[in-house]
């Protein structure tokens, strides 16, 4: 159960998307996320679907992995869809007591479901094709203008903390598993009892985990010092991504799609926010 978490999971491959500059990928993702919410009719939403599908096919990450990501949040998608059906006024097609289902409600809930799915798979496409180090490097470089107001050191520190956190998630998971087994072997009961009782049962898990995390942190700090780490200044990078032709091409495509989505929105039915 603990190995199931896919935060920052990276699938090494040599696709066009993998080789893009992380900064461009992050910016384009933000643009796509905004545009899925701007798209408000079939033509513009269809365009967004094509755009995201193209990206995930080009990423060369197996489609079933994207599918698995969606499967994990199907309940959220369903819930959002149901709430949208019930809360939109308009042409009633079915009524039962105070509950009314409207045509607009159904359309809107379909749109919302599509939006959430696009949101999840396009974000997943970023983390699947970008290693955590590249991702944090990308964020660090995007936030570089902050050093103009004296926050340069803080930006690097935050990025390093993110890298280390991602690095240690699997290690600490494994350790939690081990401690849980050790406590169970000594007769700890983690599965029965009321809510409070279960919370209390977790204390003997978290105390050793916390202690060992501190010990790891001290050793890690020593090891980093031994490898000449002195903070962000003067560091270089193994993969120094320079935005190249493929980044330009991707940006142009996204900009064209954005323009098309806005045009469709205005010309086909005015600005209607579904």
């Amino acid at each position: 159960m603990l190995n199931d978490i896919t935060i920052g999971q990276y699938f090494p491959a040599k696709s066009v998307i993998h080789r893009m500059d992380a900064r461009i990928k992050i910016l384009l993702l933000i643009a796509v996320l905004v545009m899925t919410f701007v798209a408000s009719n079939a033509a513009s939403m269809g365009l967004m679907i094509i755009l995201v599908m193209t990206a995930i096919i080009l990423s060369r990450v197996p489609l079933k992995i994207y599918f698995r990501t969606i499967k994990k949040i199907w309940l959220l998608i369903l819930l959002t869809a149901v709430l949208n059906i019930l809360y939109v006024d308009g042409e009633v097609i079915f009524a039962w007591g105070v509950l009314e289902i409207t045509k607009e409600g159904i359309i809107r809930s379909v749109y919302m479901a599509i939006r959430i799915i696009l949101l999840i798979i396009s974000s997943a496409a970023l983390t699947y094709t970008t290693s955590p180090t590249q991702l944090t490097d990308g964020i660090e470089r995007l936030l570089r203008p902050l050093s103009l107001i004296g926050l340069g050191g803080a930006v690097h520190t935050m990025a390093m903390m993110m890298t280390l956190a991602l690095r240690f998630i699997p290690t600490l998971m494994e350790e939690t598993d081990k401690i849980m087994s050790a406590q169970k072997a000594r007769g700890a009961d983690l599965e029965s009892g009321g809510f409070m009782q279960r919370i209390k049962a977790l204390i003997p898990i978290f105390v050793p985990l916390l202690v060992s995390s501190f010990r790891r942190a001290v050793e890690l700090a020593d090891a980093m010092e031994c490898r000449c780490y002195t903070g962000g200044s003067g560091r270089t990078h193994l993969n120094n991504p320079k935005a190249g032709a493929r980044d330009l091409a991707a940006s142009v495509i996204v900009v064209v799609v954005i323009a098309a989505v806005i045009t469709f929105n205005i010309t086909l039915d005015g600005i209607i926010w579904f």
């Binding site: 090891a223 000449c228 193994l238």
Partner: protein, 280 residues
């Protein structure tokens, strides 16, 4: 030969021990020759890990001096220069790896030194090949075995192209297979790349493979000789809580029971040879 490390009359204690006045390291002097392979033995609390940290300036001596390539570790300006020349590998590989991809982890040292990307790439590939982990360069460290992780950690140090590597019980948390992999990598670095090795260990069979064995007890050095000479002092080693290699132990016990055997046997093969000569 030139000395790469010169430790002169060093004493050290952690701040928590200042009141009791117990020193972890007491008036210790040691020189390490360039290109040599030295094993440091000692039971828990003998001060051997502290010695490792003193060598590359993670901690500074309270009195005496530690010099690496003529630079004092107490000189703050020389800190980076010392650390790129004397790498330190720790016991737990999990706590030394900083990145989520093998090659990005190995690149950490050269990145900190501000090398250009092409040079980092060359060093990363070279370091991974030398520990035989090149095929795993795009793997996630947490999916590797203990021995593989430790070899990645060693590659991370080699990528800084140090002249000397100090390893603090690098095999203590590994299974026998991982231990062999790491020992082979260490020995190849010493023989083929001429890197000076200081191996801190409590496995006697590893110490046997070094050219020189230093035995520590109570913060000082009590023996310093070739493995053959050191391990012939069986009873003395046992009195400070250390073992000897199994073959040495067996020969020692046979002598005690009245069967004469040479006292400087180190390996299984040597034992069999001597036994066949005398008793077959």
């Amino acid at each position: 030969m030139d000395n790469i490390i010169e430790i002169k009359d060093v004493s050290f204690r952690y701040s928590s021990e200042e009141e009791s006045g117990d020193y972890v390291i007491k008036n210790l002097s040691l020189t390490i020759e360039k290109g040599s392979f030295t094993a440091v033995l000692g039971h828990n609390g003998s001060g051997k890990s502290t010695l490792a940290k003193l060598i590359n300036g993670l901690i500074k001596p309270e009195s005496g001096s530690v010099e690496v390539l003529g630079m004092s570790t107490s000189d703050e300006d020389k800190e980076t220069e010392i650390r790129r020349n004397v790498g330190l590998v720790f016991q737990n590989p999990d706590n030394q790896l900083v990145a989520t991809i093998v090659e990005e982890d190995v690149a950490f040292g050269p990145e900190n030194l501000g090398m250009p990307p092409e040079e980092i790439r060359r060093r990363v590939d070279d370091a991974l090949k030398r520990v035989d982990m090149y095929d795993y360069r795009s793997h996630a460290p947490h999916k590797l075995s203990g021995g593989q992780k430790q070899r990645v950690a060693i590659a991370g140090i080699i990528a800084m192209e140090p002249q000397c590597i100090v390893l603090d019980e690098p095999t203590a948390m590994l299974d026998p297979k991982g231990r062999d992999e790491v020992m082979d990598a260490i020995i190849s670095l010493n023989k083929n790349s001429g890197i000076t090795i200081v191996l801190i260990t409590h496995f006697m069979d590893e110490a046997v493979r070094a050219g020189r064995v230093v035995v520590m007890d109570n913060g000082g050095i009590i023996m310093d000789d070739t493995p053959r000479k050191v391990f012939s002092n069986v009873s003395e080693l046992k009195s400070i809580g250390l073992d000897v290699p199994q073959a040495t132990e067996l020969a020692f016990r046979m002598n005690g029971m009245g069967y004469e055997m040479p006292r400087d046997i180190l390996t299984k093969e040597e034992f069999i040879k001597a036994f066949m000569e005398k008793y077959a």
